[in-house]
Amino acid sequence: MPRLTAPPIITATNLSYIRNHEMLIQDFSFEIRTGDYVGVIGPNGGGKTTLLRLLLGLLKPTSGEIHVLEGKPTDVSVRKQIGYVPQRGGNLDLQFPATVEEVVRSGRTTQLGFLEHHGGTHEQIVQQTMMEMGIDELQGRPISQLSGGERQKVLLARAMVAQPKILYLDEPLDGLDPASRETFYEQLRHINEAGVTIIFVSHDVHAIAKEANSAICLKHQLVCHGDNACHIDRRQLRDLFHPDREDILSHHHTH
């Protein structure tokens, strides 16, 4: 199905979120279509992660509505169809005693019945996903002994074993070297080509311009929502990040 005519998979209407009397998200409305690869960009503290947590149902909007996969973000049936890779590995403790295989396999927990044994098809999906992510040779290794790039691949694999329709990523590449970043982006391209909608939060405008086919730019308010990150207005982009840095604009237009 052509992306532009695909049905909306996420709809936000007049979305606002206030915390401790501070307006973090102000009156957002947007639609994300099935199969989109959306970059959510904006300066640090601009509300990107807050928006993602609202979409994930981890925060409750102060006002407005969100519909994901024709349901509420907090519906268990909706949640079983999403994958999430948090910022800097999330709360994953590096000393946590678990192997790569155990962490990846934990991503299938919600797909299994209450007393269902993990095996057969479930195990095939786990093994297949690890192979696709290039971590099958690491499966017996403790996560404490992985590099940053390997750890992010494990977290991506854990999200993908649930075979999600929507994949949320919150600045997953912070602190990684360029080679690890490129491999990660390549894997995301394959995932998107397979029909998974991707919502990618980042402060890296250049990467979003190159990788995503749509962008949501925010700084507490919705600055713009474009079909292609490269078409975001120069002035908006400059105001969004650093009003005094013209170099951001020149870099942005090289892509």
Partner: protein, 270 residues
Amino acid sequence: MLEIFEFDFMRRAMLVGLMVAIVAPTIGLFFVVRRYSAMADTLAHVSFAGVAASLFAGFAAIPTALVFSICSVLGIEHLREKKILPPDTILSLFLFGSLALGVVLLGLSHGKNVNIINYLFGNIVTVTQTDLASIFLLGIITLVLTKILWRQLFAVSIDEDIAEAVGLPVKKLNRLLAVLGASTIAISMSVVGVLLIGALMVIPTLAAMQFRVGFQQTWKISVIISVLSVLLGLISSFYLNLASGGTIVLFTVGFFLFATFIPSPTNASA
């Protein structure tokens, strides 16, 4: 060596010790990996208040301690979810509050507190047939529930946010884990005492983590260490006339120190 089994009280002590040796690190593992070890200590002090209340009112100690612990863990989890206080201060509030309540109730018990030392420091040889039945019933329920919910508890332990985002009932699982912790402490009081039960839940897991293996393997090693510590502790205390609770915990510390000197398989091959 076999004369130790000629006594009824030692056979009961061995059975109770083995059950506790399996249950304590099984629940303790989830507390340790979530950096929630202080919960074990807090629940132990709440159990102390429960024991004091049982002596004061003339109720059975284990069920009273269990009721106190379950009410407290539900309160602790409620405050933790509200996020109005940092988690460690919530635990401190319950720990010191329970200790104070226990001391006051003991003071009001007027001579009925002769058994309190057994509950504070453990005296496994005083376990009665009724205690044995309660401990086995609670222990088996705790192990069966943990086995059924193992996958869910593991996923929540890795990252609560991700677990909630993908549809796991995180709050319910957290409360259930806390109740299982309360149950573990209630059945372990007679083995190592409320002051040392945290050690039996935490130290075998810490020792097992030194091997740097997976979650399942860490659990198996922690249970082996715990079982060996209880057996060696009971035998030593019988023949050397030592306090059983303290001796058991000293063995767990010994295993921990031993484990820190063993290179992990992955490190050794690197």
